[in-house]
Amino acid sequence: MEQYDILIIGGGAAGISAAKAAKGAQVLLVDRKNALGGVLLQCTHQGFGKNKSGIEYAADLIKDFPQEVSLTLNTTVLSISKDRTALLSGKEFGLREIRFSQLILATGCREIPMGALPIAGTRPKGVYTAGQMQAMMNLHGHTPEGPVVILGSGDLGLIMAKQLAQAGLAVTLVEKKDHCGGMIKNQRCLKEFPIRLICGDTITEVHGYPQISGCTTAKGITIPCSTLLIAAGLVPERELIFGMEKYDWLHICGNCNTVHPMVEAVINEGKLSGVAACNNLRGSL
C-alpha cells in the first residue's frame, strides 16, 4: 500500500496553503475536481486579497505550489479509517487505498439546500443553491430566468444578487434577520442596483409545478419568480471523519473547520495545520 506522511483532502485555499507549509514531508493532496483552487475558481467577483477575483487569487496561490507534493485530481476520498488508511476513487487510478501518518481535512463547506428548510409547497424546477448558480453562471456560462428571489442576504446571497442584477435580472432578497446579513462591501450592490431587500421575513412556501412560479413569505408577501436561490447558510463538510474528531493525527482547517468570511483566515488555518502535521511527524520519529 502506498504510504504518505501527510494526506491533504481538498485543494482549495486551505489545502493549498497546508501543502505549502508541510515542508520536507511526503505529501499527497487529493481533490475531486480537475484543478486546484476549490470554490475560488467559481468566483469571478472582486474582493479577494487586493481586489482580485477568486480565479486570479487562486492562480496566485497555485504559482508556487510545491513540486514535491503528489497531486491527485478528479479523485474522491470515499472513506477514512481509524487505522489511518484512506480509500480513494478516481477515473485515472480507479480505486486506490493509501496509508497516511497525518491527515489534513480541507474539504470546505457545502450549502444548505431547500430540502433542509421548512419550506412548504411543491418541489418545482428552478430552485438552486446560490453557490450552485454561481458555478452554473461562472463555470458553465448559464444565465437563469428572471425574476429571481434569493433567500438569505449573507455574502453569497449579496454576491449573487449583484451578479444577477448586473445581468439585467430583477432580484429580490429575503432576509430572516431584521437587517442585511453580509459584509459592508458586499452590501454596496444594494445602492448600485435596483435590488429589492425584504428584511425580517423568510420564505415559507414555493408555488408552481413543474417550474417555479413564485414564493410566499411568512408575512404573506407573494413574490413571482422563475428562479429561487437558497443562500441560507454554509455547513462545514466533515462527514468523512465522522466519529474521528478526537484523533491527534487529524487536522481540520479552513471552511470545513468553521466557515470563514475571508480567504486570508482560511489560508492561515491551512498553514497552521500544515505546520502542526509536520510537528507531529517529527514528534513521532
Binding site: T76, S89, K91, G94, L95, R110, G115, A120, F242
Partner: protein, 446 residues
C-alpha cells in the same frame, strides 16, 4: 394499428408489476404511461413500508395478500436485486386507554397469520428503542415488518417486464376507449391501440380512466401527508415506529430506510395541491417528531416532500376498506384506489391480474419467463465506475450512464434509478453534470 393481447394503463409500481406478471403467460403486453418515465406518481412519494399484515380485517383480501406479499418479499427482492430490510416494527402508545386497540391489532395479526408478533410492556419497548420518548404504555412488536425503496422496486419490475418482452409506450395518455367485438380500442395521444384485455392501473386517475368507457362504482378521494428525510448520519431508531394516535401526538411513522436515511411520515389530511407540503403540515410534523423522538436531531433533515394517496369510496359516500378489482366488462379490469399496503402487495396484485387475464385469454404459460433482473452495479474495473459525480451518495459516472441506458431521461429519472442527488446537498453539486450527460445522450436541454 398496433394490436396487443393486453394493455396496462399506468406505469406506477402496480402497472409495472402487472406488466411483469402478464409476461409469465404468452400474453403480448403493452404498458402505456402518460409521463416520460415510470414510477413518477404515487410510487415516488410513499412510506416504503412492507407491512406485516395485522392492520387489515381478517378474511379480507388485503389481509391475505399483505401477509403473503410480506412473506414473499425476500425472494422477490432477490429476484429483482433490490435491497430489502426486514427491520421489524413497533406500534407504540402512551395512553393506557389505547392498549385495547393494540390488543385488537395483535389479535388481527394472529388471525391473519402474521408470525412472531407479541405485546411488549412500555419498559421492553423503551429498551428496544431508547430514542423513543419515555412513558410508553404498551407496544406491539412485529418482526416481519420491513422496508423497501418503492421506486426501485417498481423500476426493477418494469425492467424485468421489458426484458421479458413487454412493450412500452411512454409519453402516451389514453384519451378514449372504444369497445368492439374483438375487444377494445384505446385512443391515445399517439397511435390508437387495439387489445383484448385492458388493465387500468392509472393510480390517482383510475376512476377517471374507467369513466371513459364504464361508469366506475368506485370513486377516488385524494388525501396527502408530509414527509421528512434525514441525513443517514443522524442517530435513528432501528425499527419502524408506528405511533398510535394518542395524547402524545396524532400518530406519525418513522421508517429507517434501506438507504440509511430515516423517513418520517406525518398524518394524512385533505389534499390541496397534489404532492405539495403545507406550512401547517410541516410545522405539525416537526412538533410531532420532537414529541415522539425527543433526541432526534431534526437539524439533519435534508428534504421534505408531500405524498398523495387515492382513497376509494362508493357512490353512497361509504369508503371501501379492501382492495377491489372492478371488472365492468369481459377483459376490462380496473385497480381503483389501491393504497396502503399497495407496495407490499404489488407483485401479489400483479400475479392475480396476470392470472385473471390468462384465464380470460386462455393463454399458456410463458416458459421463457425469467424472473431475474440485474441491478445497476456499484463497482467495476471500468474507470467510469470510479469517477464519483454525486459526492454525497457516492454515485459514479458509470452508474449514471447505465441509468440513462436503462431509460432515465431526466435528472429525476437518474435519481430514482441510482440515488444520485438524494444526499445532504440535494443535488446542488451534481445536477449540472448529470444534465450534461443526459444532453450528450439526446435527452433535452435544461
Amino acid at each position: 394499428m398496433k394490436r396487443f393481447d393486453a394493455v396496462v394503463i399506468g406505469g406506477g409500481i402496480l402497472g409495472c408489476f402487472v406488466a411483469r406478471n402478464l409476461r409469465r403467460w404468452n400474453i403480448s403486453t403493452l404498458l402505456v404511461e402518460k409521463e416520460g418515465d415510470v414510477c413518477t406518481g404515487i410510487t415516488r412519494a410513499n412510506s416504503a413500508i412492507v407491512y406485516a399484515g395485522y392492520d387489515n380485517k381478517p378474511g379480507s383480501s388485503k389481509a391475505e395478500m399483505t401477509v403473503r406479499g410480506n412473506a414473499n418479499m425476500d425472494s422477490l427482492c432477490e429476484e429483482l436485486e433490490v435491497p430489502f430490510s426486514r427491520c421489524g416494527s413497533l406500534l407504540v402508545t402512551y395512553d393506557v386507554s389505547s392498549v385495547p386497540k393494540l390488543e385488537r391489532k395483535l389479535e388481527n395479526g394472529r388471525q391473519n397469520g402474521v408470525a412472531g408478533m407479541r405485546m411488549l410492556t412500555g419498559e421492553e419497548a423503551e429498551a428496544m428503542e431508547p430514542m423513543l420518548k419515555k412513558g410508553i404504555a404498551a407496544a406491539v412488536y412485529a418482526p416481519s415488518t420491513g422496508t423497501v425503496n418503492p421506486w426501485q422496486l417498481g423500476i426493477a419490475a418494469y425492467e424485468n417486464a421489458v426484458q421479458n418482452g413487454a412493450q412500452v409506450s411512454l409519453n402516451t395518455s389514453v384519451n378514449g376507449i372504444r369497445r368492439e367485438d374483438s375487444g377494445y380500442i384505446l385512443l391515445t395521444s399517439g397511435e390508437s391501440i387495439a387489445c383484448k384485455v385492458v388493465i387500468n392501473c392509472a393510480g390517482l386517475y383510475a376512476d377517471q380512466l374507467q369513466q371513459l368507457l364504464f361508469p366506475p362504482s368506485t370513486r377516488l378521494k385524494l388525501d396527502g401527508a408530509e414527509y421528512l428525510v434525514l441525513d443517514p448520519l443522524a442517530r435513528k431508531p432501528e425499527h419502524i415506529i408506528f405511533h398510535q394516535a394518542d395524547s402524545c401526538g396524532k400518530g406519525i411513522t418513522a421508517i429507517p430506510c434501506v438507504e440509511g436515511n430515516l423517513l418520517i411520515s406525518g398524518v394524512r389530511k385533505d389534499l390541496t395541491v397534489p404532492f405539495a407540503t403545507t406550512a401547517e403540515g410541516l410545522e405539525e410534523l416537526y412538533a410531532d417528531t420532537h414529541r415522539l423522538l425527543p433526541e432526534l436531531d431534526t437539524s439533519m433533515v435534508i428534504r421534505s416532500f408531500g405524498a398523495v394517496r387515492p382513497n376509494p369510496y362508493r357512490e353512497s359516500g361509504e369508503s371501501i376498506p379492501d382492495f377491489c378489482v372492478e371488472n365492468p366488462a369481459p377483459g376490462f379490469y380496473s385497480l381503483i384506489g389501491i393504497k396502503t399496503p399497495g407496495l407490499t402487495c404489488s407483485n401479489e396484485l400483479g400475479l392475480a391480474l396476470g392470472e385473471k387475464a390468462a384465464a380470460f385469454l386462455q393463454a399458456e404459460k410463458n416458459i421463457c419467463f425469467n424472473p431475474h433482473r440485474k441491478a445497476i452495479e456499484k463497482k467495476k474495473e471500468d474507470p467510469d465506475y470510479c469517477q464519483i459525480l454525486c459526492q454525497c451518495e457516492r454515485i459514479t459516472k458509470g452508474e449514471i450512464m447505465e441509468a440513462i441506458r436503462r431509460g432515465a431521461t431526466t435528472v429525476d429519472g437518474v435519481k430514482r434509478r441510482v440515488g444520485s442527488g438524494m444526499g445532504r446537498c440535494q443535488g446542488s453539486r451534481c445536477t449540472w453534470e448529470i444534465e450534461k450527460l443526459l444532453e450528450e445522450n439526446g435527452h433535452g436541454a435544461i
